[in-house]
């Protein structure tokens, strides 16, 4: 059984309430940081911990914090990215629902480290019931003196607010999130300047994922070295994995980075094996944006080594034979799964979620969806498969934000590893029951799509 740092107490009844959370060691990191550490010392511990951004990019958190500009007389902000929308990812929701005070505590300790006196938690609009839970937790924190003026008599002030989104995946991109928080459309900004220099209302801002901020609590409590002792190499500490799809036990699992993929899929402690004991076909290991891998490559790297749940091992082989840890959205598919149909759900997703700012993404995501739709509708040709490949190549790297890349990678990897399946859909379509059955799609005029192809 691996160590748990974030979900250690999630089984305790009433842990969502202040009293129970506090009784079980809650808010100790705030006491420790504010009373016995300088802000710089807290940043130092986070650097030592090797913690990497848990939203998906995996950028070292301590380094991100150290980039924060500190001009005199200008407010600084800490913004928590709780816009969890990456398909396959539901860990932040679980954490906020079960242990909301862990996030509040992490926000206080982290804000202190950054010298921020105001923090915002930006929660996706669909999670409105979670907003209610967080608002309650924040109220309790104010009542008990953990927020507001002169916290613990140290002279440190912090106000913490929840902000709601309204249904836009793109707002998980940090600059789009800041635009949205300013009450605008969620169009990502051109970087530089980075938020660390010009962020919320043009002030220096750090944006961190829910899980990243929560991880600061055990790091401050036990020290960065203790955190770094868990895991392998540059993949330190624990990670929340959202497991879904064709598995016996879907759910959120906190793993020590370094568990093998095989153990994670088949051990009773985690996913418990494939549903109905079918064979494993493919896995999307880190949320919809990362490359899909077939069973043989997800269990073992191309060089035959056991694939581990770490940033490095999952990326081994680059995109030719590897993938990414991403957000930890682990989607498992059994032997009966149509890779083409699954890809269609992803393509539709990215088309729906493209903000429309950059032409390659706005147009390209639409075309990828239309072509996959055409293939599923029984009108595909071999040239369509090549066209899909061509379009994704023209999106990748040509957009302001990574949504374009995120839309391209699933298409590229599905064709790379399952090309014969695409070919079967267009050359042997009568034998595939899926063909001719698809979702009614609001924004797609199929007849127009075909005639323009």
């Amino acid at each position: 059984m691996g160590r748990k740092l974030l979900l250690e107490n999630d089984h305790i009844e009433g842990i969502h309430s202040y009293e129970v959370y506090r009784k079980n060691g809650g808010y100790k990191s705030v006491e420790k940081a504010l009373k016995s550490m300088t802000p710089e010392a807290v940043v130092e511990e986070v650097k030592k911990s090797g913690l990497r951004g848990r939203g998906g990019a995996g950028f070292p958190t301590g380094m991100k914090w150290s980039f924060l500009a500190k001009p005199e007389g200008v407010p600084r902000y800490l913004v928590c990215n709780a816009d969890e929308s990456e398909p396959g990812t539901f860990k932040d929701r679980y954490l906020m629902e079960r242990i909301p005070h862990l996030l509040v505590e992490g926000m206080i300790t982290s804000s202190y480290a950054l010298g921020a006196n105001t923090g915002y938690i930006y929660v996706r609009g669909e999670y409105f019931y979670i907003i209610k839970i967080l608002e309650q937790a924040i109220s309790e924190a104010y009542t008990n003196g953990w927020l507001g003026k002169n916290i613990l008599g140290t002279g440190y002030n912090l106000d913490l607010y929840v902000q709601c989104g309204a249904g836009a995946y793109i707002c998980g991109e940090e600059t789009a999130l800041l635009e949205s928080l300013e009450g605008k459309r969620g169009n990502p900004r051109i970087k530089p300047p980075f938020p660390a220099v010009k962020g919320l209302w043009e002030c220096p801002t750090v944006v961190n994922n829910v899980e990243t901020i929560a991880a600061v609590v055990p790091i401050v409590n036990d020290g960065g070295d203790a955190y770094a002792a868990i895991g392998i190499g540059k993949s330190t500490g624990t990670k929340l994995i959202s497991a879904s799809g064709h598995i016996k036990k879907p759910g959120v699992y906190e793993i020590e980075l370094g568990v093998s993929v095989e153990e994670f899929i088949y051990a009773d402690e985690y996913c418990g094996g494939i549903l109905n004991d079918k064979k494993l076909k493919a896995v999307v290991a880190g949320g919809s944006s990362v490359p899909i891998l077939p069973a043989d490559l997800i269990l073992k790297t191309a060089s035959g080594e056991k694939r581990l749940m770490t940033y490095e091992s999952l990326a081994d082989g680059g995109f030719a034979t590897g993938t990414m840890l991403g957000s930890g959205g682990f989607i498992v598919m059994d032997e009966s799964t149509s890779i083409v149909k699954n890809l269609h759900t992803f393509a539709r997703f990215y088309h729906h979620e493209s903000c429309g700012q950059c032409s390659p993404c706005r147009e390209g995501t639409g075309w990828m969806e239309k072509i996959l739709h055409k293939i599923l509708d029984g009108h595909g040709t071999l040239a369509d498969v090549d066209l899909l490949w061509d379009i994704q190549r023209k999106i990748e790297g040509n957009t302001i934000c990574p949504l374009g890349d995120a839309a391209a990678w699933p298409v590229a990897s599905a064709i790379r590893h399952f090309k014969s399946e695409f070919e079967a859909y267009v050359t042997n379509r009568k034998s595939i029951p899926d063909v001719k059955y698809y979702f009614h799609c609001n924004n797609l005029d199929a007849a127009a799509a075909y005639s323009s192809l």
């Binding site: 907003i131 959205g329 997703f349 979702f439």
Partner: protein
């Protein structure tokens, strides 16, 4: 611009919107726009008409275009009328793997409408949506702030039964969602 004079928010909603502005620094009241639009939608039958959006603009001291451009960007704002019960079924990968298509087909059949349509009696609107973060409890659908998870067709029938006589429009928020500052 439409006639927003005919639109009146309840005193509670108006007070709440004014209170939300306190969450942001002086002069940054535009940040209250997203929550304010949610409050407006909840108050005015689950959708945002032009006069309602104009009223929000007036309350927040914004130009109407600033409100329209935001309302049209985010998928949770409905710009045309919806039924009393807005059913949002997730259809992205994990939900699809666990049977979302069957859920959609079942609802379409039961209600006699297609995705995006409203029943003639104005009771139900069906909308398919992208990943709602309920992948481990798939398939799922959302009505207002409630997630209905691990769906079976029997469960779906029960939910439809439960909502068929709803008095109020389903809403993402209630009077306790935001704390007063």
């Amino acid at each position: 611009m439409s006639d927003s004079n005919k639109i009146t928010f309840s005193p509670e909603s108006e007070a709440l919107i004014k209170n939300l502005v306190k969450r942001y620094p002086e002069g940054k009241h535009k940040s209250a726009l997203l929550p304010a639009l949610h409050i407006a939608q909840a108050e005015f039958n689950g959708w945002l008409s032009a006069p309602v959006m104009d009223k929000v603009a007036e309350l927040l001291n914004l130009q109407p275009i600033e409100v329209y451009e935001v309302a049209s960007f985010y998928s949770m704002y409905n710009l045309k009328p919806v039924g009393k019960c807005l059913i949002e079924v997730c259809r992205t990968s994990s939900c699809w793997l666990r049977g979302a298509e069957d859920v959609v087909k079942h609802i379409e059949k039961r209600l006699g409408i297609k995705d995006g349509e409203t029943t003639t009696d104005g009771k139900f609107t069906l909308k398919t949506v992208e990943c709602l973060g309920s992948c481990g409890t798939a398939p799922m659908l959302q009505i207002g702030q409630t997630f209905y998870e691990n769906l079976t067709l029997e469960k779906v029938d029960k939910i439809l039964e439960e909502w068929k006589d709803a008095g109020k429009h389903s809403s993402y928020l209630d009077e306790h969602t935001f704390r007063n500052i």
